[in-house]
Structures are given as structure tokens and as C-alpha cells.
Point group: C2
Chain length 352, copies 2
């Protein structure tokens, strides 16, 4: 039980007089609150600049946009790297948290901002799980729900890949049973391997083939050794090593666990229809054809259950070879669909 | 350069008078020579008992069946765990080997057995790569080629998964830069993580869901911790830990490297048709619908190139949800097709 939770968040735009124009954006596993501006700590650019900003799909000139770092994260919100009751980092004494806990923390933030109802809750991947949890937990506080490239529960394969990542972290002796911050070490190699394995699942086979194929990295011929001969090897190693600089290993364990535990139907009497029963708003469910991490079939299950629950829901699938990461990339048809849905919903609510 | 190579092999059945009934079976990445009888070292059962044995598809009452441990392996054939010139284990001083090297070693074995022409060369996965290499390198020594669930070159995604595995091994401090045998250690944790990641790619998403889903392991409820709550986690950990007992970590590095390097077209003027041009035998190319490791599209590329090379080739795809591992499992339609192809080929050659 956490007695006190700090939530790090960013906002863009202004809340209107009747507080009806707030949009909450929920980030993915390794995301952060810097959806529309650069992260000052890591220097990384905004992660959804095509969609969020002045004049964009999620128009910060019209909407008050909020994005907070998830509970258990490592970008300012309380997580396993935060100081525990004894003044030292929590480590594995941090309680295992759930997607529902993340959403409860967001609701507390929304309360603190004096906002009763969110015009929209939007998120992709784990962000989409939070959107679904908002619909189920706070059905009266959400007008529009936009779960993107997500699932209402992790499949065995999803859990399997996460477990590989966790085992890679825990196999690193520098993990020190989770107490690496106290020990002054960091499980950099293990976390890098975890990120490499996960990263493969974010891209489609065909996109990897198109981008990398069997192209060699800065060499004319195979070296017959274990260096990164192929570009794809060099790319993956880079993904692993840069990730380690910006992410806490225990946060990775806790957040992947929260995703694995997420099972919206199970938490609501065994059916998704039951989970969605109280929601009176509108929903838009998006997926990407080559996403094998959260394939379109998972989105269709969500859409069908929402229809069965009497929700006004539109589901669409974007044809792309960019895999799961497509939701973060420039996909014009995707952007146009979100824009149309949000625009119509805003007009319906009398939002200028 | 290896001055002297030992090859560990097993045979079943008898060579006929004109030495025309020999079938070479090539094993996969973590396989061994014990295709039709139990491995006396590990105690593991024969790995292809449905297909190979008396009265089976590859009938040891009719054929002389040979299976050897690949070069670079760890079941008796010379590999990185073997003693090098200084009498201590090779470790990373072992030369990087290729699929072609493995096949050259097999050809030397066939020579030593006094066999000029093989009635058939059969193999799945990496074994299928060896079959293709046989066709390209020794076209006059093979009557029937049966490459199964394989590819003529590794895709970027294939290389990516292998690189994750290698990095997991190398991240383990007990790997000791490859000199763990001299150091008296073993990179057990790293190799287990590598095996876990690889194992996911051998199974289909739907088979994992059917077999494991979100079923809990010996417990009634989630424990909110990092133990193996889910059966799939427990299963993967078991796959990792048992693999470590039977496989050498450096062999894993060398053999995965050989697979990544394999590019049959590149080695033959840039086209597969060129690689197959000299082959006058028959071929049967098999794939499995849910195999995303070596998907049916890869087999179709092989079949098409063989047709273009004027080879009498039949390609078929088995509809199954068992993924890549289907080639090792009980798939009656698969067995019947192999049986028909081998039977017709044997009759054509006048083999009783």
C-alpha cells in the first residue's frame, strides 16, 4: 500500500470555462508524459508530435491536453526507484501495481485539476489498456474513449515476451535482487537484452526486411565473428543501450507485470460487455494490419463487446507494414480518422 | 581452419548391396544425431520417432538412415567446447563456421561410409538449410531433397531474434568472454534467457493461447509478485533451465551465426535458380501455415526457384496452428505426403 503518490504530468492548451475540453493521453510501456514537447531530462523529442499540438488532430489550441507519467514509472511519478518509507529506493519492496492503479492515480490527478469529466481519453498500446480501464472504472467521467493498437487482456505470447524481458533483467547480477540503486550498480546488460527482445515485437517482419534486410553494417563482407555484421544487429544493440540510459530496470519489471495482469473481462464478471456496460460515451477503436503484438483481432474483440454493450463505437484498421509502432508514426489515414471522430464528437458536445 | 574434425553420428538399418538406399537426416539448431533412438547422454527420446523407424515414413527396414551431429555442435562432433590445439577448449578461438561447412563435414562422413549418392537428404529448420546446401554443393550426390519448414536465407527478423539470444549469452558474466569452460563456470542464466526468447518463435500465437492462455500455475489467484504466476511463464522458465543442461552456450553462438550467415542465393551469383541449376534429382518442399519463424512464403520462394531451375519439385503447406515446431510433431498429413513422395521416388529408382 502506497501512502502517498507523486504524479508527474504535463499539460498543453487551456481549460475552458466549463472545464469540458480536457483530453487525457495515456502513454505506453516505455513512454512518458512528454507527448507534445521534448523531454527535458532525456532530451528525446515529443513522442506524438504528429497528433498533438497547435492545429493538430488533438489540437492544443482547442483542447486542454494532460499527460502524466504512469504509477510505477521512472519519469517523476512514484515508482520502484522512488524513495520508500525508510528514505532509500523502494526496489522490490514497491507494491506490484495494476493498470487499474495507474488509472486511479490519473483520476486523482484529474480531481486535483478540478476536472469532473474528460472530453476524451486517448492512448495506444498500454495507453489503450488505460483507456479501456477508464471506460470500465469511471464510465461517467469520459465522453470519448480512443483505445489504439491495444488489447483487453494479454495473450500467452504477450506474457511470454514480457517474461523473457524480466528474466533477462533478473539474470543480470548487477540487478542485485532489485536493490541495484542501493548497491550503486545498474543491470544495464540485462535491461538492454530485454529491450532488444521487446523491440522486435514492435515491428513487423516485412518492415524489418524492408528497412534492414541482410544489409551489412559499415562493412563490405561478413567478418566471420560475433560483431554486429548486420545492420539489424547494430540497430537492435543501439535500441538496447540507449534504452538503458533512460529507463529504470525495476520500473520495467513492474510495468510489464501490470500489463500481463491486465484482464478487463476477468475483473468484471468474466465478460467485456460487463466491463463496458456503464459507459454512455462514444468510442473509436483503432488497429494496424501488421501489428502482431496487439493484432487487429484484439481490437475487433473490443469493438464487438462495445457494440454488444450498446456503445456508439467505430472500429477501423489501418493497412500498414509498420507493425505495432505504427501508432507512434506518421500514418495519415489514422490521423484523419481520429480527427474526424474527435471533430464530430466535439461538435456534438457544442465544443467550438 | 580446423585441421582435424570428429563427427559423431548414428545409423539405423542396413546399407544395401549397391549402396543406393542411404538417407541422410539433418538436424535443427538444438537437435542432435539421435533422430530415431534416445540420446544416451541426455536421456531425451528420439526427436523424430513418428517419421523415422521400422515401418515408419522413413523406414529403417528399407533405408540406411544416417544422422550426424553438426559441425560446431556439442554432442560429439567437433565444436567450440572441443579441445583446441593447446589441449584446452576452443571457446571463441573456434573458427566461425557456416552451413556449407556443416554439409562438407557430412559429405566427408558419407565418403568415409563408402556412399557415393544419397537416396535422400531430409531436414527441417536448420536441417532444411543443410538440405538446400547439399542440393547446391553436391547436386550429383542427392536423388531426393526434402527441405522442411526452412528458408534459403535468414530474414532480418530471424537475425534479430538470434542476436537477442547471443547478447543474452554474452551478457552473462559467467560466459567469461567465451572461456567459461577454462574458468569452470557456465553462462546458465544467459543461455536460458536465449532459449526462452527462441522458444517463443517456435510456437504460434494461437497454439500458445490454446495450450496456456492466461491459466495460472499451481495457484488460485495472482500473487502480485514476480514469480511464475502464469503457466506460460513456468513453461518458458522450464524450457530455459532444461536447455542449459544439454547444450553448450558457445555452440549456440556458433550455430546461430551459421544460420544468420546462410544465404544460398548470395553464394551462387545472387539467384536461387543459380544455386539449384545443377540438381537433377527430385524435391519436396514442406511448410506449415502457422510457422512465423520460417513462414510458408519462404518455402514458396524455394519451390519457385526449383521450378525455374527445371527441377521436378512438389511443394505443400500443412494447415496447422502448431507453428514452426509442427515439423517435429505428429502431423498425419505431413507424414503421408513425405511417405508418398519417398515411396514414389523409391519405386522410380527400383528400390524395393
Amino acid at each position: 500500500m502506497l501512502e502517498r503518490v507523486e504524479i508527474a504530468f504535463e499539460t498543453w492548451g487551456s481549460l475552458n470555462a466549463d472545464r469540458s475540453n480536457a483530453i487525457l493521453i495515456c502513454h505506453a510501456l516505455t513512454g512518458d508524459q512528454f507527448v507534445a514537447s521534448a523531454n527535458p531530462v532525456t532530451g528525446r523529442p515529443a513522442w506524438w508530435p504528429q497528433l498533438v499540438g497547435p492545429g493538430r488532430v488533438i489540437d492544443t489550441d482547442r483542447f486542454f491536453v494532460i499527460c502524466s507519467n504512469v504509477l510505477g514509472g521512472c519519469m517523476g511519478t512514484t515508482g520502484p526507484a522512488s524513495s520508500g518509507p525508510d528514505g532509500t529506493p523502494w526496489g522490490l519492496d514497491f507494491p506490484v501495481i495494476t493498470i487499474a492503479d495507474m488509472v486511479r492515480a490519473q483520476a486523482a490527478l484529474i480531481d486535483a485539476l478540478g476536472i469532473g469529466t474528460l472530453f476524451a481519453v486517448v492512448g495506444g498500446s498500454m495507453g489503450g489498456m488505460q483507456v479501456l480501464e477508464w471506460v470500465a472504472r469511471y464510465p461517467d467521467r469520459v465522453i470519448c474513449a480512443l483505445p489504439i493498437a491495444t488489447a483487453a487482456r494479454h495473450s500467452a505470447q504477450n506474457i511470454a515476451f514480457h517474461e523473457v524481458g524480466r528474466q533477462a533483467v533478473m539474470a543480470d547480477p548487477d540487478w542485485c535482487g532489485g536493490a541495484y540503486l542501493k548497491a550503486g550498480t545498474r543491470p544495464a546488460k540485462g535491461l538492454a537484452v530485454a529491450r532488444m527482445a521487446a523491440h522486435i515485437t514492435y515491428l513487423s517482419d516485412s518492415a524489418l526486411q524492408r528497412k534492414f534486410g541482410r544489409t551489412l553494417q559499415d562493412r563490405e563482407a561478413l567478418t566471420f565473428g560475433f560483431d554486429a555484421d548486420f545492420q539489424i544487429e547494430s540497430y537492435l544493440r543501439h535500441q538496447g543501450s540507449t534504452f538503458v540510459d533512460r529507463f529504470d530496470a525495476n520500473s520495467y519489471l513492474y510495468i510489464t507485470r501490470a500489463m500481463d495482469y491486465f484482464d478487463l473481462a476477468a475483473a468484471h464478471g468474466g465478460t467485456l460487455v460487463g466491463a463496458f456496460a456503464g459507459f454512455k460515451g462514444r468510442a473509436c477503436v483503432a488497429s494496424f494490419s501488421s501489428d502482431w503484438h496487439y493484432p487487429p483481432t484484439e481490437s475487433r474483440i473490443i469493438t464487438r463487446a462495445m457494440i454488444a454493450a450498446g456503445i456508439e463505437v467505430s472500429g477501423f484498421e489501418i493497412t500498414t507494414d509498420k507493425g505495432h509502432d505504427a501508432f507512434l508514426l506518421d500514418e495519415p489515414d489514422f490521423a484523419r480518422a481520429l480527427e474526424g471522430f474527435l471533430g464530430a464528437s466535439a461538435r456534438q458536445r457544442g465544443l467550438a
